[in-house]
Symmetry: D2
Subunit: 273 residues, 4 copies
Amino acid sequence: MLISVSGWRSPCSRDTLCRFLPRARRTGRWRLPGITPGTWWGSNSGPIPRPRRPPFPKGLSPDPETSGRVVAYFFDWQFNGENDEYLDPVYSQYREFFVLVDAHYDGQPVSWCPYIYVDNHHALARGLVQGFPKKIGQVHQTRVFASPGKASPTPAPGARFGASVSCDERTLAQARVTLEKPLEDPSPLLSRATINLRHFPTLEVGKYDKPAVHELVRMDYGDQQLAEVWIGSSEIEFYPAPREELADLRPVRSGMGFRGSMSYNVTQVFPLA
Amino acid sequence: MLISVSGWRSPCSRDTLCRFLPRARRTGRWRLPGITPGTWWGSNSGPIPRPRRPPFPKGLSPDPETSGRVVAYFFDWQFNGENDEYLDPVYSQYREFFVLVDAHYDGQPVSWCPYIYVDNHHALARGLVQGFPKKIGQVHQTRVFASPGKASPTPAPGARFGASVSCDERTLAQARVTLEKPLEDPSPLLSRATINLRHFPTLEVGKYDKPAVHELVRMDYGDQQLAEVWIGSSEIEFYPAPREELADLRPVRSGMGFRGSMSYNVTQVFPLA
Amino acid sequence: MLISVSGWRSPCSRDTLCRFLPRARRTGRWRLPGITPGTWWGSNSGPIPRPRRPPFPKGLSPDPETSGRVVAYFFDWQFNGENDEYLDPVYSQYREFFVLVDAHYDGQPVSWCPYIYVDNHHALARGLVQGFPKKIGQVHQTRVFASPGKASPTPAPGARFGASVSCDERTLAQARVTLEKPLEDPSPLLSRATINLRHFPTLEVGKYDKPAVHELVRMDYGDQQLAEVWIGSSEIEFYPAPREELADLRPVRSGMGFRGSMSYNVTQVFPLA
Amino acid sequence: MLISVSGWRSPCSRDTLCRFLPRARRTGRWRLPGITPGTWWGSNSGPIPRPRRPPFPKGLSPDPETSGRVVAYFFDWQFNGENDEYLDPVYSQYREFFVLVDAHYDGQPVSWCPYIYVDNHHALARGLVQGFPKKIGQVHQTRVFASPGKASPTPAPGARFGASVSCDERTLAQARVTLEKPLEDPSPLLSRATINLRHFPTLEVGKYDKPAVHELVRMDYGDQQLAEVWIGSSEIEFYPAPREELADLRPVRSGMGFRGSMSYNVTQVFPLA
């Protein structure tokens, strides 16, 4: 999820000599653990009605097999680069909410991220460069702690987790997951490639419709690992808000819920021809 | 750390009939887990110089045995009451920094909290009623995640954790802990009672020096439990800021560091005669 | 609105010698300007239905003349004490929303504040001591700027202003005012005394219903001044949210709107027998 | 300062059909008023020492006439588009700090913005597209209110204003301005063009040094107006912080201070050959 530790630097700051990306980025030696009670839901067999049609860029189309399936993720992240950034959590911790919509690219099943919110401006800048349309939002999810008690669920049958996201002082989504059993083989959770749209507008009169950058790319997540993944049931609700389109994706039904931990390295993105 | 789930309600709201405390409070059935890389440090044998003398209220005096010892705590909390509050983390999660100063009360070794910062206004209101002089602050600490990787330490020898606290847009303290070994018997960490000063001013001309409430109380933590406690070395620095006195307590040396998880119930406070 | 510039200090900090209130407080030489597009609305003649009955403490009752009238205020404040605090806006600026409900005390028409939100923790602490049940909230209102343009209304017939307040990531109220004419004599806006309830709970088992402090007080606003007050029409909406009761006061109709600037000194509160 | 009211939308949201810019943007009918106590300072005649050399991109060089002059601005903004956005201040109000460094482009005196902080994510996204390297920061400045009092300065000789900016929980700059007299002809304040660097990285291995967009542009501010501009003396200090380079520009001396209000329309940027 993190591409550049210096995403927010002046593009011509003294130390970086007009390079946006630090050395850490170029050597691909990062790792990013996270923990998520994601909720997974979708429409039933028919296509989603037009008013709820997820927005696809040119080149992507609805997945005819799972038409309308959307997966919502709440993440607590902590990242690291070459300088022990995990020891400075003001900089390296962030919480994120996003939805991935099932899509097809060139006949293949992929995921597309139309909406994403994060509470850390470093993560926001890096995401924009990767093609994630990030906004600043506030994201919260129930945590697990080592000491026992009623206030801390443990991964076990019946354990419940809550989560929510807000933007511009309005709650956009709330979700709950109830665990049922561990997921023996979580690899299907990682089977779809994530396709983003890197976009950078042109601001010249007469050229507004010809963006400077507008390219589909495939995320490259290296050394991806999942741990303590449980599945169960879920509930999720989306709420309308000014300027926000998330609620257009309101679920026809809530599907499988899941919760686990994930880590990976980011090294690059691959442009799609 | 939490006394009342409705601390912020209007004291005469419709439902509570002029009772500040909810039923959950009166039945003492809460539990509050937390996780902390606290740092523990102190002066050496001599008394702390006057300019650094921690502020004690009448009735408390420096502990002659450990004169000047101060323990700094960074906590990530999640609380629960009678209504599954842990499922609404906007309300029930908070992060907190405070220092406890070794003191004597009536010849007994106790702890005194002169400064405390928290990022949740519900926790702030409840703390004020308990006698904690809470302000709003931003608190961050390195977390442990289940999935492996360079960005997430695991409790193991050499594991490092960072933490910081800010208030009014200024960083007040930064700390690091390096773990060495598990603490077999963590009960000494809980041996001192915490003494607070419940204080509520009078705002009548001529009576400013006669506060309406000004009483020492002893915190009552029920069912206190510690888990995964490790000890090691620590570094901590305090930074001066307008209106803040924390930096007056700057350490002569950093002492033992520790990290672990804690939970307890809160049922009441005991006034000291 | 501001009583103590050091409301947030440790009650026994080194410099204040166990006095909560600074010298500035005791000499009553403060002044607090503010600017507000308040909105004024109320029910028509009959009493408000029980489910919407504003919460009154013992000693206050609905005003039989204006039964159910509630005035909502959005304020941008800047305060000053003895140390040029207005030059440190991180500390001295804050934005506030509150409602005042028409009430009777001892046969006299007064105002009662059941709900109030502020974005500055210093202002919150001071308000709690004055008897305002403050929570942290985010408050915004359209501003006037000196340079002309479509983005900045000027006080003139037809000028419009918007405002909103949120708490715990949910918008609680939105309002608009459209100006019609200057208010020649704004003194009626100040005619009612504000009655607060200073409240500080007891946390001992068996005494929860006997708060340590529970007293009605009358606010004392010295040297109160109004400037550039306009009146017109208003729209206001309240939205339900967990733990919030503001929406119980939802208006039967929106009444007169107003906008202006106000300043005053605070020196004390008067306990009501 | 604002280019696009929908800067944060998904680049392929349903309504905008893959157009980043709304209609309002394309018709150039916006206006943005602001109010600022900017502080103006600079080195004396000699060049700034290398360690303090402001970072210039290729194509810009230090201004040999005013070598090292930097102007710091604190702005309170409110913007409007085609939909009365000024009535929704959560969206349309923001506060901003930035520095402009005197530079030469093609032999002409221009301004270059190496560092800029803003408290609103909408403004951040739009700025990035214009070539402003914006980060999220907290910005505060003393305000003027209509009602009289010690807490509100009025534009008059001797009036003082304070301001500060923070990022990632650290204060980066503090400034004060003391007014002396109105500026009869403020047009010299607008004489230099602002040159930005629109930059969007490439994230492919082997191409990190070949950004997708890296072009100097000239800002186009239409219908620019200044009001109530006063000048006087100033003080400003920059403070070091992790990852921040602003303090490298620490002033050799503080120069003229100023305060006033400004508005303009934004319609486009002009690429420089």
